[in-house]
Structure formats: C-alpha cells, structure tokens
C-alpha cells in the first residue's frame, strides 16, 4: 500500500499517457494526428523528468523537442502537398512483421531487464535527496567543465555537429532553379 502516493499515481498516469500516445503515434491513420500524439508523448516524458526533479531537462525537452522538432514535423507535413489529408493505412503484412519484431524484442528485453537484480539494491532515499538538490550551477558546471564528469568537449563537438547539420540541411533542401523547371 505504501506505493500509493501522489507521485506514483502521477507516474502511472504519465506512463499510461506516454504509452497510449506512443501507440497512437505509430498507428493513427492521419499523419497530423500522429504528430499531435508525438507531441503528447514528448510532453509526457517531460512530465516524467519533472517528476524526477530534473526540471532543466524537462524544460529543454519541452522547448526543443515539443516546441522545435514537432513543429518541424508539422511544417514538413504541410510542405508536402496533400499529406495532411491523406489517410495512411497500415499494411497487414508489415504489421505482422513489425509486431513480431516488436513483441519478440520486447519479450526478450523485458525478461532480461526485469531479471536483473542490480536495480533492487538502489539506495532510493539518498537518490531522492541528491535529486532534490540539483541546481542550475551544478548543471552549468557539468556542461562547461573540463574535469571528469564534465562535458565541455562534447558540448563543443555538438556545436560543430549542429553547424554541419544546418549547412547540410540547407544544401539538401535548397531548391535549384533549374530543378524547379523540370
């Protein structure tokens, strides 16, 4: 009975919604609806982060993911003519094959993960304490430091990645005049 706490109920609600909208994302016949479901999934995940006291991450998740990426999707959907209205039916064969892969994978992974006894020993109380004490400075230091467990280098690398991706994306998406004529 001690599991019935507000946060746990919250978790269940979030988990259910994540999974529900996840399923919706991959099954809904209308692509806009799928995008919306994806938005809710991401939203739910942000909720999970919040619940785990990682407010910063939740914020990033919301702003970048839900705010950026999903919007990108929606723009793309609109860019592609008529896609918004098209109905997408799942082919039976694919569903069976996909289901087979997903279910068997799920079965195996879950069995393995749940059988692992490592997690039981977790010191939850201490974890809660530390989680409660995360502040922005710590996050900032971690992101900007050069010591162990600090992430300046990946941060810098990610900047190159982003730059390259922007340029790459531009190159690919750029419309050549000649091409238009064709």
């Amino acid at each position: 009975m001690e599991y019935i706490t507000a946060s746990n109920i919250m978790f269940v609600i979030l988990a259910c919604s994540i999974l529900f909208f996840g399923v919706m994302t991959v099954t809904s016949t209308k692509i806009l609806r799928a995008a919306t479901s994806l938005f809710f999934v991401l939203f739910g995940i942000a909720g999970l982060y919040l619940q785990m006291n990682y407010e910063f991450l939740a914020a990033v998740q919301l702003s970048v993911y839900a705010g950026g990426i999903v919007v990108l999707f929606i723009f793309a959907i609109f860019l592609v003519k008529n896609l918004g209205e098209e109905k997408e039916k799942l082919s039976k064969f694919k569903s069976i094959m996909g289901g087979l892969a997903a279910v068997s994978g799920l079965a195996i992974s879950l069995t393995i993960i749940l059988k692992e006894k490592v997690f039981v020993t977790a010191d939850t109380v201490r974890a809660d304490e530390i989680a409660a004490s995360i502040d922005m400075k710590w996050v900032g230091d971690t992101l900007m430091g050069t010591e162990r467990f600090q992430y300046l280098l990946p941060f810098e690398a990610a900047s190159v990645l982003l730059l390259a991706c922007i340029i790459g994306g531009l190159v690919v998406a750029q419309i050549n005049k000649k091409e238009e004529e064709i």
Partner: protein
C-alpha cells in the same frame, strides 16, 4: 515509497519497441521519422531513470539525455530536408517510392 526503477524501464522499453514497430510499419517517411523520435526518447528515459535512481552522484545520464535532444534536433532537421528532397524528386514521400535501389 517511490516506485522502483523497473517501472521506468518497462515504460522505456515499451516505448522503444513501439518506436521500432512504428518504423517498420508506417508508410510515409515523416511518420517513420517520428517513430525514431520515440526510440530516442525511450533511451533518454533510461538514462534519466538510471541517473536518478542508481547513480545520482553525477549528472551523466542527465547530460546524455540533453545531448540526445540536441542531436535529435539536428538529425531531424537533416532528415526532414532529405525527405523534402525526396519529395521533390518523386512527388511523394511514401516509403515505397524509395525502393529503386535494391538487390
């Protein structure tokens, strides 16, 4: 008493395979890309959950999730531009339209 780690793992694993399922069954490229987001998020949840419950001393999983989000954004941008490119060539973004190269 908070819920055990396993709950999070179950959610993430389910989400992961929902994503996999989506990747395999969806018909158009953008939906497929969306399925990938599910997969990435599943991993993200894992990192966060592990960090939060098992190794709270450092922000490793936290940071990882952060970078996943960043990379996912970049990736999505490039992928969508490529999809648009495909659309221009084939007037279509059905996954079936990109199987000229085979065998």
């Amino acid at each position: 008493m908070s819920l055990p780690l396993e709950c999070y793992l179950v959610v993430s694993t389910l989400l992961f395979f929902i994503g996999v399922f989506g990747f395999i069954v969806r018909k158009n490229l953008i939906s497929i890309l969306m399925s990938i987001e599910l997969i990435l998020n599943a991993a993200s949840i894992n990192f966060i959950a592990f960090n939060r419950f098992l190794f709270p001393d450092q922000l490793e999983g936290f940071m990882y999730s952060l970078f996943i989000i960043v990379v996912a954004a970049a990736e999505t941008a490039v992928a969508i531009s490529i999809i648009i490119n495909v659309y221009r060539k084939k007037k279509n973004i059905d996954v079936k339209s990109i199987n000229e190269l085979k065998y």
